[in-house]
């Protein structure tokens, strides 16, 4: 069990002598660890319609079930049409910024991916995907936290970071993950007066070992390191332009942490608004607007990082997919399997992975939803083991892969 204390993260008992000393060595301590791999998880909360994100236009069952929200098959030279990927699948036209990444094989798709648990509750399904234990509610920690916990200790508070107002379930559990809404505002703001910061720091330094104190101590470690690294001042590179939406802001700040070499290993960001029960739209409309921001943010991230992207893998996920047929309100209800994206260094991209279950009525899960053919744990485990070099077993307790690996990462 790894504790929340930074000094233990730094390598356990050997460093205990420094426990009471000021933590002044971050800059030198982390410099040696700078070349590490980073995994970025992006959660599409609300259950994204995988059939619109990556459309199976080659499936004869597709057009008939979605009379008003189905995408037209890709058409050559038609910029408003879905972009063909491999003759069978096509990318939603609003995701066009991702096409260059597909073409240079940095982007892969896993389709019909999802959970073995059949819940259609957003909240349970998100929990299961973040704890990595479908059907098991008692799991206290998240799969990404366990991934970090199995790696060698490092003396940085920035091993695991979520950009957002709360620490997501996936990062909870004893690794001292940090969450913040903004790098710029991540400090005690008391002007030139340093006593306030010092006072708060001492208040959380002392006292009982609980969630508040532990978080407080890590917070001040992180504040100091972030300030000395000047992360918040790093501008986007390579002409990258982020969409002005929370996901764009989050990914931009994750690149700042990557570039500042603060020892980041796992980052997390999420995007809301995928629960399209009504008026989902097709090439244009509500869902298309979401895709536009989502695709633009991911593309800007890759562009901004440039060569550094070879150390980074982005994995997108959503708690489940949506009904194959459109509902009575030109939307879709809660379904089962969806599509996930893997983007970055070492990805064997330009391919759609997974076995396609088909859209004929008898092929659907419970007669209504896309069936799951790839357990999300198989995908997550493969990405984590191959990219971060961690063992799979502690990440997904009880999971026994029943299929050969996807080999989505080299």
């Amino acid at each position: 069990m790894i504790t929340r204390r930074t000094f233990v993260k730094a390598g356990g008992c050997a460093l205990v002598a420094y426990a009471g000393a000021p933590r002044f060595l971050f800059r030198t301590a982390h410099a040696a660890e700078a070349s590490g791999k980073v995994l970025v998880a992006v959660f599409q909360r609300g259950a994204v319609d995988g059939l619109s994100m990556v459309t199976p236009h080659g499936d004869p069952g597709y057009a008939g079930v979605r009379p008003t929200i189905g995408l037209q098959p890709p058409g050559r030279g038609e910029s408003e049409r879905a972009v063909d990927l491999d003759g069978f699948f096509a990318l939603h036209p609003a995701l066009a910024p991702l096409v260059p990444l597909w073409s240079n094989r940095a982007l892969a798709v896993v389709h019909a991916c999802g959970s073995p648990d059949t819940t259609r509750s957003h909240f349970d399904a998100q929990d299961y995907m973040e704890t990595g234990t479908p059907g098991e509610k008692a799991t206290a920690d998240g799969w990404l936290a366990r991934a970090v916990g199995t790696r060698p200790a490092k003396s940085t508070p920035f091993r695991a970071v979520a950009i957002g107002p709360a620490l997501p379930r996936a990062l909870r559990g004893g690794i001292g993950a940090i969450s913040m809404q903004s790098l710029e505002r991540f400090d005690v703001r008391a002007g030139a007066d340093s006593t306030a910061r010092a006072g708060f720091e001492s208040l959380y330094e002392q006292g009982v070992r609980d969630l508040l104190h532990g978080t407080g101590r890590e917070t001040f470690d992180a504040v100091k390191m972030l300030r000395s690294a000047g992360a918040a001042r790093i501008a986007p590179a390579n002409g990258a332009e982020y969409p002005r939406v929370p996901l764009g802001e989050a990914l931009r700040q994750i690149t700042q942490l990557v570039k500042a070499d603060v020892g980041l290993e796992v980052a997390f960001a999420d995007m809301q608004g995928w629960d399209t029960h009504v008026g989902q739209g097709a090439e244009r409309g509500q869902l298309a607007l979401r895709f536009r921001d989502f695709g633009a943010a991911l593309a800007a991230f890759a562009q901004d990082l440039g060569d550094k992207m070879s150390d980074v893998v982005v994995l997108t996920m959503s708690e489940f997919g949506r009904t194959v047929a459109e509902n009575g309100n030109r939307g879709t209800d809660h379904g089962h399997a969806t599509a996930m994206l893997v983007l970055g260094g070492g990805v064997r991209g330009g391919r759609v992975y997974g076995q396609w279950p088909g859209l004929a009525h008898h092929q659907l899960f419970e007669g209504r939803d896309l069936a799951v053919t790839t357990d999300f744990r198989a995908l997550f485990a493969e990405v984590a083991t191959r990219h971060l070099g961690v063992p799979a077993a502690p990440l997904f307790p009880g999971f026994r892969p029943t299929q050969p690996p996807l080999n989505i990462l080299a």
């Binding site: 913040m180 609980d210 992180a222 009504v278 209800d333």
Partner: protein, 545 residues
């Protein structure tokens, strides 16, 4: 030498503790022997921390004089408490009392032509702002509601009722940013939540089920029998059909709970029962209406109970009856209440007691609360300070602790502070509302935001929010920092600061920037009470209730 050895051992011990420490939030374990009971002034502080947005200066004495049980009794009957001062403070927030139809008239949608002109570059943003100023936009409705919530939390005498309005709003959450909910959200709290917050639970379910805000937010207004053809309006001639969104959340989040034993089949049946529950002219009137033409008239089977064909509008009422009389609902609601008032992981025995009260009183909310407030679990030492304040609870309690007051403008500033710390009011997008568990709210960024709010508040940087720090330390000699600190700790954390916090704050008194020197440097002239107060507000103790 000896002291060094001891220190080393302590460090090693600390490390061992660290290696085995659980990182779950402080939740009292189920004790075999009953934990000691909280008594005396400590008990009063506990009650004030749980039933109000935090004690104000003088509250402890007031409750002591009245007696704890008499004070709780009074809070359980809010209609007997005069709250006219709060009402006066809210008078300028005109949208609070506005019927939906009037709000729709007062805050018209932006003219699509204007938007097109801005998009094409024909009109500048500045011109657009002049033609369609912010105060005429529907966002003002939510802004005023946020301000009102902050004002009420700080100043209302009906504190328990305010706590319950917050709890039920989150239980029956709607997102103020979704479509027409912008116009409906204030009416929703006023008409569907507040009147029943201290009433009967089934009435809350009924009121929310009928309200246009909920009908819109969870899409039921569009749900129709599968072969329904829209007869008029922009979608004329289009086929509509079933939408499961409300049906599922009604069972999962409002009544039975996700483990309440329903199936996908039940979700579909409940959705069929509610077809036709819709909104009459949503953009001009926004009223509940039952449209028989949209309704699926067939028989429904919900949780094994048969609802015969031809029930019409009553199908939905029948479903609400089945759900609100289900034992899973009693347990689910009991758990929610016990979590709010006792601990993140509430003692199972208490949940059972409260669920029994639900069943025997048909969901009477004050009766369930009474069961909690009279239980040994509520007064157990394990429960004392076991809850971590939500961001909004923290903000309101800080203002109250400093003897503060706010007007409507200040309420808006306080609402923004709550958003900075992670809880933008009425902006929870998912139907779960905001969580009531500490682990959700404790994280690095949010903790810094709490400290920054404490600094800003204590130093008077929130215009329209006034705090009375000098009054807190009245009588203490300004040049005697230790006395000032004692007063502050008594006033803000009811003297319950841990020894470590006390020691740290005492050490701070040696800082020249805290204890200002007199001009000739011959001794301390006065103490920077505001900064000390900020440190106390930002301390670990004050994050708990």
């Amino acid at each position: 030498m000896i002291s060094q050895v001891v220190a080393g051992a302590a460090l090693a011990l600390g490390l061992l503790n660290g290696c085995s420490a659980s990182t779950s939030p402080a939740a009292p374990a189920v004790a075999l022997a009953p934990a000691p009971r909280v008594t005396g002034d400590r008990q009063i502080v506990h009650v004030l921390n749980r039933l109000t947005y935090g004690p104000r200066p003088g509250d402890l004495e007031r409750v002591r004089t009245m007696g704890v049980s008499a004070w709780i009794d009074r809070q359980l009957r809010p209609q007997t408490i005069d709250d006219s001062a709060t009402e006066r403070a809210l008078a300028e927030l005109t949208t609070l009392r506005m019927p939906i139809a009037e709000a729709l008239r007062e805050f018209p949608r932006p003219d699509p032509k204007l938007q097109a002109q801005v998009a094409s570059g024909e009109m500048s943003r500045q011109e657009m702002l002049e033609r369609y100023p912010l105060e005429k936009r529907p966002a003002r409705i939510a802004t005023e509601l946020q301000a009102a919530k902050a004002v009420r939390a700080v100043t209302s005498e009906r504190q328990l009722e305010e706590i319950m309005v917050d709890l039920w709003f989150n239980h029956f959450n709607v997102f103020a940013g979704k479509g027409d909910v912008r116009w409906y959200v204030s009416a929703y709290e006023r008409e569907a939540i507040r009147p029943y917050a201290m009433g009967r639970f089934p009435d809350l379910v009924r009121a929310t089920a009928h309200h246009p805000a909920m009908l819109f937010y969870l899409d039921n207004w569009l749900s129709a029998r599968p072969d329904f053809i829209v007869p008029a309006g922009p979608n004329r001639g289009r086929r509509a059909g079933l939408n499961e969104n409300y049906a599922r959340e009604l069972m999962e989040l409002h009544t039975l709970g996700v483990d309440g034993g329903y199936t996908q089949r039940d979700v579909t049946e409940v959705a069929r029962a509610f077809t036709g529950w819709t909104i009459d002219r949503p953009q001009t009137d926004g009223r509940f209406v039952f449209r028989p033409g949209m309704h699926d008239t067939g028989e429904k089977i919900v949780l094994g109970r048969r609802i015969p064909a031809g029930g019409g509008r009553d199908d939905g009422e029948r479903v609400i009856e089945i759900l609100t009389h289900h034992p899973a609902t009693a347990r689910f609601i009991a758990t929610k209440l016990a979590r709010r008032f006792v601990a993140d992981t509430p003692p199972p025995a208490l949940v059972t007691k409260v669920a029994d009260t639900y069943t025997s009183t048909d969901g009477d909310i004050p009766a369930m609360l009474r069961t909690i407030f009279e239980s040994p679990e509520f007064y157990s030492a394990d429960a004392y300070g076991a809850k971590i304040k939500k961001p909004f609870e923290f903000v309101a309690s800080a203002v109250r602790a400093l003897g503060g007051t706010t007007d409507a403008q200040g309420g808006m500033a306080l609402a923004r502070a709550s958003a900075e710390i992670g809880e933008p009011l009425y902006q929870a997008q998912p139907p779960t509302g905001y969580a009531d568990r500490g682990e959700v709210w404790v994280n690095a960024g949010a903790l810094l935001a709490r400290m920054n709010f404490a600094l800003g508040l204590a130093s008077g940087r929130y215009p329209h929010v006034s705090v009375e720090i000098p009054a807190l330390v009245a009588g203490a000699e300004p040049s005697a920092p230790a006395a000032v600190l004692n007063r502050l700790l008594t006033a803000i954390v009811a003297d319950q600061a841990g020894p470590e916090t006390r020691a740290v704050l005492a050490a701070q008194l040696g800082e020249p920037q805290i204890t200002r020197m007199s001009p000739d440097d011959r001794g301390p002239a006065n103490t920077d009470v505001a900064k000390l107060a900020a440190l106390v507000i930002g301390s670990p103790e004050f994050q708990r209730r």
